[in-house]
Symmetry: C2
Subunit: 222 residues, 2 copies
Amino acid sequence: MDHTLKAVDEELAALARDVAELGALAVSQLKDALRAFAQRDAELGREVAARDERLDALDAAVERNAIRFIALRQPMADDLRRPITAMKTAMNLERCGDLAKNIAKRVGKMAEAPGQAQAEAIADLGRLVAERLEAVMTAYAARDASGALEVWARDEEVDALHDRVFAEILACMSRDAGQARVCTHLMFIAKNLERIGDHATNVAEMVHYQITGHDLSGRPKL
Amino acid sequence: MDHTLKAVDEELAALARDVAELGALAVSQLKDALRAFAQRDAELGREVAARDERLDALDAAVERNAIRFIALRQPMADDLRRPITAMKTAMNLERCGDLAKNIAKRVGKMAEAPGQAQAEAIADLGRLVAERLEAVMTAYAARDASGALEVWARDEEVDALHDRVFAEILACMSRDAGQARVCTHLMFIAKNLERIGDHATNVAEMVHYQITGHDLSGRPKL
């Protein structure tokens, strides 16, 4: 392998490593935010929020290195897919981190405890979403197109569970106006979890596209 | 001017035109969504939602052309800023379009009319946010760094008004549990407007960065 090809390979591998690290951080931020919520642990919530900077910095590094790679190496067609999907995957993972941070910050703001049924509904949705995010990052690391396709195809399970959780919270709110404040936090937490699920679906599309060149989304791509 | 320089200039101008068009569309989608909300016009809401595809397509075109420009022209430093900010500005504007679409779709789902005080609070917030988005696109078109700086510096006005609107809706919900459903729609509409305001702030940072090379956000950039 000549010198330039080796450098190109090393740069792409470094990008993939950073994206994988960002993905692992996003998963652990989400799990810790959910633990902070379940245990009403405001201190852990603050720790999660404080750790978000690391995800922002990694996302910025991936973007910088991907753009530098494109400008210096002038890759065409297939070879262009890898830096671009790295950049867009990082962006989606960074957004997952923001949403986990928002959940974590709400823990400290919830003066009253949520009802048990509502808290369990959130926990169920959280588990499903965390499992999806983890599965898509496993597919990313293994360059496993069918693993990515599976996460993508099961997109609607998160939406369906979100809708059930939302109905549960709305019913609680409609029964008891005194629960309006705490239920509002629960609704935004549920919405944030649904949005993390959407980002996992986006990442699944990108992983699949990077490996196969086939676009699942039907959206115009490169 | 030699042939290549002229082509580079034309490509950058075409990118800027597409971004400006996307910005104009995002502003008009937001205004129409707000009009649909104010007039409880579900048909207009559906039209806004249907028009969102055009924004997605323009965003995809800007991204494709920016990446192609970087790969073919290998711009360095200052010249790299323009395609990158075009791409990121387009992404933020496309997200504004999604949020306007979400507002528009809620109009058809609100079975009951919101209270007058709450509807007016949303209208006020909407007007402020639309004005900011319009101002930042004017600064973009005029390459006006101080105009962008002004939008950026007044970021907190949107957040402060959002918090007042939110308190108003929460109070209504806490008084009357029967309002839970309609007030939940209002809360998500208010949150969507706040997020459009955040995107306008992001665009202001990018416009300022593109013109001056100075980063307002304190985040790591190129």
